[in-house]
């Protein structure tokens, strides 16, 4: 479980080089990925970049760019110029990115070496990576189980030790839940902290990119490189957009007890209680809070998200790029291209979104959902007057078996603790809080810390004290 900071120290000292690190990454992928399927594409040209980085460290030492020579994997809904960007969808199976996403450009400028693209649920829709058009990714902790999703390939790539860090996207928990299932740190920034330019849009008012890493310090490092105002994304925020969220010696945590009664696995709950005790031992205080609207967030999410999906995915029409079908007229080409190109979950959400936006239903669904969303935000702001951080398990269960969840609604309930965070736009981090035993295997489970808008640094501060120091 190498961290970026450990690699950095070795690179500077010259005891280990970027060439060795990238070779090791490519070797691990070659030897192990057939059984895991974390990667959709591996970039052999990374070797050459690594050699340059090795030379640069020899010259510059500690003054080299802070991510120089670090092998990193990127989810395949993030554009890397000249590389295939499929979104794990058949409709884009031969699409090549024309430009770098802003976050990719910033990672490259900081010296990171992108070694490959990771698997995911098609267009980031799912919580298990089973919805990929290119086969399921397996959880390295137990290959009969899912790695979570939708950034399951990114999580598995780090958990199988192919790379020390990977980038994912989080619309309703898609970085945090796979991080929890694979024993990693996963971070979802304040909405707008990170540019969405060059990310395949899913739910534009919810999407944020975030890191999956072995330590909170690494997540902070990657986030700082990726974050910041971008003129290509008008929703990016500045450091002074929200009031300053101060760091403290000890914090007050709020636990929404009623919320936890909803179908949380008893072993997950036990690990959560143990985590609460460890916080109290460390001098923090933990109080019960009520978040009645948060409990209902899932219903609002499954209106807002499909609505935005149905509109965002209208661009995949088989005309300008991507897979196309033959047809007798233009309409026929659209309908058949989309029939052949999209998987079942994507079609399900497009139809649902089309329904909630259609005339006569718009006010009853989308209008109401936006109202709920606003009221959730107010409820949250009220709670943050008395607590510093809100605490929940990241997911209600540990990683489930591949093929186990067949009912879409049951699958959606995986997101119960994560979606309110995206709906309200606040930042949240997930890191391991212990393990639970299933079929004689120890499966990691994660805890989620939620901070007020702009409180990203508070989550890193706490995570470093509580998780990194014990790692």
């Amino acid at each position: 479980m190498t961290t970026l900071s450990e690699l950095r120290a070795k690179f500077i000292a010259g005891t280990y080089t970027p060439t060795q690190a990238v070779d090791a990454a490519l070797q691990t992928i070659k030897q192990q990925d057939e059984g895991i399927n974390a990667f959709l594409d591996v970039y052999q040209d990374a070797t050459k970049e690594a050699q340059h980085a090795t030379t640069q460290y020899a010259k510059e030492g500690a003054s080299a760019p802070k991510l120089l020579g670090m092998p990193i994997a990127v989810k395949n809904n993030i554009l890397v110029k000249g590389k295939k960007a499929t979104g794990a969808s058949k409709i884009l199976e031969n699409y090549t990115a024309v430009y770098d996403a802003t976050i990719v450009q910033r990672l490259k400028e900081a010296g990171a070496i992108i070694v490959g693209a990771t698997n995911m649920d098609e267009f980031a829709m799912g919580g298990s990576t089973e919805n990929s058009a290119f086969g399921v990714t397996k959880n390295p902790h137990d290959t009969t189980r899912v790695p979570g999703g939708s950034s399951g390939g990114s999580a598995a790539a780090v958990a199988m030790n192919a790379v020390p860090a990977a980038i994912g996207t989080d619309t309703g928990g898609s970085v945090r839940q796979p991080a929890a299932f694979c024993g990693l740190v996963g971070f979802k920034p304040t909405y707008g902290a990170v540019s969405r330019y060059g990310l395949m849009a899913m739910g534009s008012s919810l999407d944020q990119a975030g890191p999956l890493t072995n330590s909170v310090a690494d997540a902070e490092l990657l986030h700082e490189v990726m974050a910041g105002v971008d003129e290509m994304d008008a929703t990016t925020i500045d450091t002074d957009t929200y009031p300053k969220v101060p760091l403290k010696e000890t914090y007050t945590f709020g636990v929404p007890r009623d919320f936890l009664r909803a179908g949380v696995d008893p072993d997950v709950l036990e690990a959560f209680e143990t985590h609460i005790k460890s916080l109290q031992m460390a001098g923090h205080s933990v109080v019960d809070i009520e978040l009645p609207l948060f409990e209902k967030g899932l219903a609002a999410y499954y209106i807002v998200m499909p609505a935005e999906v149905s509109s965002n995915l209208a661009r995949y029409d088989g005309i300008r790029y991507g897979r196309t079908a033959e047809g007798k007229n233009l309409l026929d080409v659209y309908e058949q291209s989309r029939a052949d190109g999209f998987g079942a979950e994507v079609k399900r959400r497009i139809l649902l979104g089309t329904h909630v936006l259609s005339s006569g239903y718009y006010d009853a669904y989308y209008g109401k959902a936006q109202l709920v969303r606003k009221q959730m935000r107010a409820e949250l702001a009220e709670r943050f007057k008395t607590v510093d951080v809100i605490l929940t398990p990241t997911a209600p269960t540990p990683a489930f078996k591949i093929g186990e969840q067949t009912d879409p609604l049951a699958m959606y309930s995986q997101d119960i603790f994560t979606v309110p965070v995206n709906l309200t736009g606040v930042p949240a981090i997930s890191f391991p809080m212990g393990t639970v035993k299933r079929d004689d295997k120890m499966l990691p489970v994660g805890v989620q810390y939620i901070a007020p808008h702009g409180g990203d640094a508070r989550l890193f501060d706490l995570g470093k004290k509580i998780y990194d120091e014990r790692r």
Binding site: Y95, T96, K296, Y321, L331, E335, R338, K347, L371, R377
Partner: protein
């Protein structure tokens, strides 16, 4: 929500559905719609204040920022059907059927 409703939605969304898919969505979609209808009882109707966090439109200078043809080649090569520098599509007028 019945089969006709779903067929109509699919046609609005420009997706051709196979019979098997239609049958599957006919059982799944009403359950999901039923679930999300809960927002009707949650939303506080008396609330008419505008949403917080709404941001005004952000404009940039109306000026060309790319160099001419910077991306043309890369974009044209991705077109499924093209003719020289043009994208070709099926005829949209005078459709016989």
């Amino acid at each position: 929500m019945n089969k006709d409703d779903i067929t109509h939605l699919a046609s609005l969304a420009r997706i051709r559905l196979e019979d098997a898919e239609l049958e599957q969505f006919e059982t799944e979609l009403p359950a999901i719609v039923d679930y999300v209808s809960a927002v009707n009882s949650i939303a506080d109707e008396k609330d008419t204040e505008p949403s917080p966090g709404m941001r005004p439109n952000i404009f940039r200078e109306d000026a060309v920022t790319n160099t001419p043809n910077q991306y043309s080649e890369d974009i044209i090569t991705q077109m499924p059907h093209s003719s020289g520098r043009f994208l070709s599509v099926k005829k949209i007028l005078n459709i016989e059927d």
